[in-house]
């Protein structure tokens, strides 16, 4: 907010401000002489370029090739598009796609609702506000695998803490992670618990950036707390909502670690997502096949991300 009012000369001028000291100034001088050319000699780009080529470009190109082969690590045999056909014929691919979307929608939806609620709560005049903000954010900092293992224990039927608490009020809990009906949902809820802190922080920032004038205007018109929320906070925190939806939806689409630690896609195939299906192909030693799966995932993600990026970029300019 603050920087916007300050003239930012760095972006406007030549980029020498980024690199301190003599080399930058010399480069600047040379560029000034020739008017064109890079900020640094090409040789300085070489190390980065070499690293990028060796550990990114070459493996990517190889992946596209190996996706077309039957590859055992010892040797590979060119099989054309067979792997893509086999991967698409994978029996549980449709379950995986459906679960991926369900998981992404459920987690991002709940994170929006809970994040907004917590955001409003934690921006109000509350005792221990700072402490509570830390508490809400804390799960974000914990390793996902640790969260998965912990919750697997908590959700154990009969002996787990969750079931014991439910037993106190006379409810006999289901086998949360071991039953087809509850497994994916249980994992999604744990994901929400872990991720809602980030959503809350985004909302807190969004709500704090709403100018006080609007709230004063509502008060002057005799509006109550509900009106303040409904007509000011909710509409004006839309950019935060937008960020939370996008972040958690993409996170949900590529979710893997929590699902793998808690259910391994089970029971049976009922909580499989695309990433876990691909991972299982790798485990089976079907390296060509799983690479084909990853190439497909790459294409799908690209197809979603490029238009989304374009759309978001447009939105950013508009307000």
């Amino acid at each position: 907010m603050v920087t916007r009012h300050r003239p930012d000369t760095r972006d406007a001028g030549p980029r020498d401000g980024a690199g301190p000291g003599l080399p930058a100034r010399r480069a600047h001088a040379r560029r000034a002489r020739r008017k064109t050319g890079p900020a640094y000699p090409y040789a300085l780009y070489l190390p980065a370029a070499a690293v990028y080529i060796v550990i990114f470009l070459i493996p990517t190109a190889m992946a596209f090739y190996f996706a077309l082969t039957r590859w055992t690590l010892f040797d590979s045999e060119f099989v054309g598009l067979d792997n893509f056909r086999d991967f698409l014929a994978e029996q549980n691919l449709s379950i995986g796609f459906r679960n991926t979307v369900v998981y992404a929608v459920v987690t991002s939806g709940l994170k929006v609702v809970l994040g907004l609620g917590l955001g409003v709560l934690l921006t109000s005049k509350l005792r221990l506000r700072g402490f509570l903000r830390s508490v809400v954010f804390f799960p974000v900092l914990v390793s996902t695998v640790a969260v998965g293992i912990t919750f697997s224990v908590l959700l154990k039927p009969g002996t787990g803490l969750v079931d014991r608490v439910l037993a106190l009020v006379g409810i006999s809990g289901p086998d949360w992670l071991g039953e087809a009906g509850t497994a994916l949902l249980s994992v999604a809820l744990v994901d929400v618990w872990k991720g809602v802190g980030l959503a809350t922080v985004i909302y807190i920032a969004g709500i704090l950036s709403i100018p006080q004038d609007y709230y004063q205007a509502v008060s002057a018109d005799g509006g109550n707390a509900w009106h303040r929320f409904r007509h000011v906070t909710l509409p004006l925190s839309w950019p935060a909502t937008y960020s939370v939806i996008i972040l958690s939806f993409i996170g949900g689409l590529r979710s893997f670690d929590l699902i793998w630690t808690m259910t391994r896609g089970g029971p049976g195939f009922t909580s499989d997502v695309i990433a876990s299906i691909i991972y299982k192909q790798y485990q089976s030693g079907f390296f060509g096949l799983s690479t084909a799966g990853n190439v497909l995932l790459f294409v799908v993600v690209t197809a979603i991300v490029i238009p989304l990026n374009w759309f978001l970029g447009r939105r950013q300019v508009a307000p």
């Binding site: 010892f74 029996q91 039927p157 086998d175 049976g268 096949l289």
Partner: protein, 432 residues
């Protein structure tokens, strides 16, 4: 992974698959003893056995020092072994599954051919096929084999006056009696998905009794689980015990460890499992040795009653080794009765040895004795994965789905046929 054979089962089962770091093989010091690196999975059973082997060997041959390295078990370990073999970075000797999993390692390129070598002098001839590839032998048996069938609590059987069943109908009748007594008839532990496969894989003795050529036809892509009633029976059994409500509460998130505990404590009567799961429990619950028995999964014909046997894993020499002589000395020791005895002192055998002259000790655990009785009668069949390189990787998920009542058994069998087809294509087998 390609084919989940016995050791993958054990090593995954022992749940010790923490992150294991394989350290690099150290170069031999000149003049001093030759140092052999020996890679094993980090399952407690394997590691104890491997260390016992190494120690016993070093006592007989002070000129060679064997250093045991560990790797994770299960599919992660398979990929580590494949990677290290394909990059020529393998330990000098290594412990790995026999049977179908071995075929995926491309032994001709990566391992030392032992065909006709004196190293094999004491190895039982009918073991050799499971450590062979294209007619060449690559390994020696490590430790004992095991049975895959039903582990049962003998105390419960005594108290209820039950007899070991020889047909599936008798088994189900026993289950009804056990349930009436308030004990869980069949323990299932689907959190460790691999444990769900036993009703299908352990039923192979019965499959072969009815369809003797199943393994060959199956490898050739001609016989299918769904189209062979004897083979589909395993899936039906799985569905039946669930449908009758014979499983423990919370079977979907129970682990193998919890299942074994239930069995030993008498809270459950039957646990479809591998006998090798028992010896590691002796330390904390010594009654395992006498209270837990073993019987093969019963089929339809009492006259054909028998058990399905898992062969011991093998120890192989990597082609990249520079210490071939020392490695061969070590393997020759491994395949000797003295080695079997040394390992048996540390890890109680849960099945037969495959070394001439090595026998079960008198104080062997009851399950091993029960299994030996089947062997003495000639009523055992190796599991399908030792007769065919084909094993679908998704079987454990399919059996969980069938065993939880999510998928009808016929559909599960058909799904498995498709899974197998994918694997056979990836192996590049003929006729698929």
């Amino acid at each position: 992974m390609k084919l989940k054979a016995s050791l993958a089962l054990i090593s995954a089962s022992l749940l010790l698959a923490a992150c294991g770091g394989g350290s690099d093989a150290e170069p031999a010091a000149d003049g001093g003893p030759v140092t052999l690196s020996f890679l094993v999975d980090n399952g407690r059973l394997t590691l104890d056995g491997a260390k016992a082997l190494a120690d016993a060997f070093m006592k007989t041959d002070p000129g060679v020092k064997v250093e045991v390295e560990t790797r994770p078990g299960g599919t992660e370990g398979d990929n580590i072994v494949k990677t290290r073999l394909s990059t020529g970075d393998m330990a000098d000797v290594f412990w790995y599954n026999s049977g179908s999993l071995l075929q995926a390692l491309n032994p001709a390129q990566t391992m030392v051919d032992l065909t006709g070598d004196p190293v094999l002098a004491n190895v039982q001839k009918d073991f050799l096929p499971v450590v062979s590839h294209a007619g060449k032998v690559y390994g020696v048996p490590a430790g004992a084999g095991m049975g895959g069938g039903i582990l049962y609590n003998r105390e419960v059987y005594d108290r209820l006056g039950l007899k070991v069943p020889t047909t599936w109908a008798e088994f189900m009748a026993n289950n009804d009696r056990i349930k009436a007594d308030g004990i869980t008839p069949v323990i299932s532990t689907f959190k460790d998905t691999w444990t769900s496969q036993l009703f299908v894989l352990g039923d192979f003795h019965n499959v072969r009794a009815q369809v003797p050529a199943f393994a060959q036809d199956y490898t050739a892509g001609k016989a299918k689980f769904a189209a062979t009633p004897a083979a589909a029976a395993g899936f039906e059994h799985l569905a039946e015990v669930h449908a009758k409500g014979h499983l423990n509460k919370g079977f979907g998130s129970a682990t193998a460890e919890e299942g074994l505990k239930m069995l030993v404590e008498g809270k459950g009567a039957h646990y479809p499992m591998l006998s090798a799961m028992l010896p590691p429990m002796l330390k904390d619950t010594p009654q395992v040795a006498t209270d837990i028995g073993f019987f093969g999964i019963p089929g339809t014909d009492p006259a054909e009653n028998g058990a399905t046997l898992w062969e011991p894993p093998g120890i192989y020499i990597a082609k990249s080794t520079e210490k071939l002589d020392a490695a061969k000395k070590f393997l020759a020791f491994v395949a000797s009765p003295a080695a079997a005895e040394a390992v048996g002192k540390v890890v109680q055998p849960a099945g037969p040895y495959r070394i001439e002259g090595a026998t079960l000790p008198d104080d062997a655990i009851q399950a091993a004795k029960d299994l030996q009785a089947y062997i003495d009668k000639g009523a055992t069949t190796p599991a399908l994965e030792f007769l065919s390189p084909v094993k679908g990787p998704a079987l454990e998920q399919i059996t969980v789905a069938v065993g939880s009542g999510l998928t009808p058994p016929a559909e599960g069998a058909a799904q498995y046929d498709k899974d197998v087809e994918k694997q056979a294509k990836q192996l590049g087998l003929e006729g698929w």
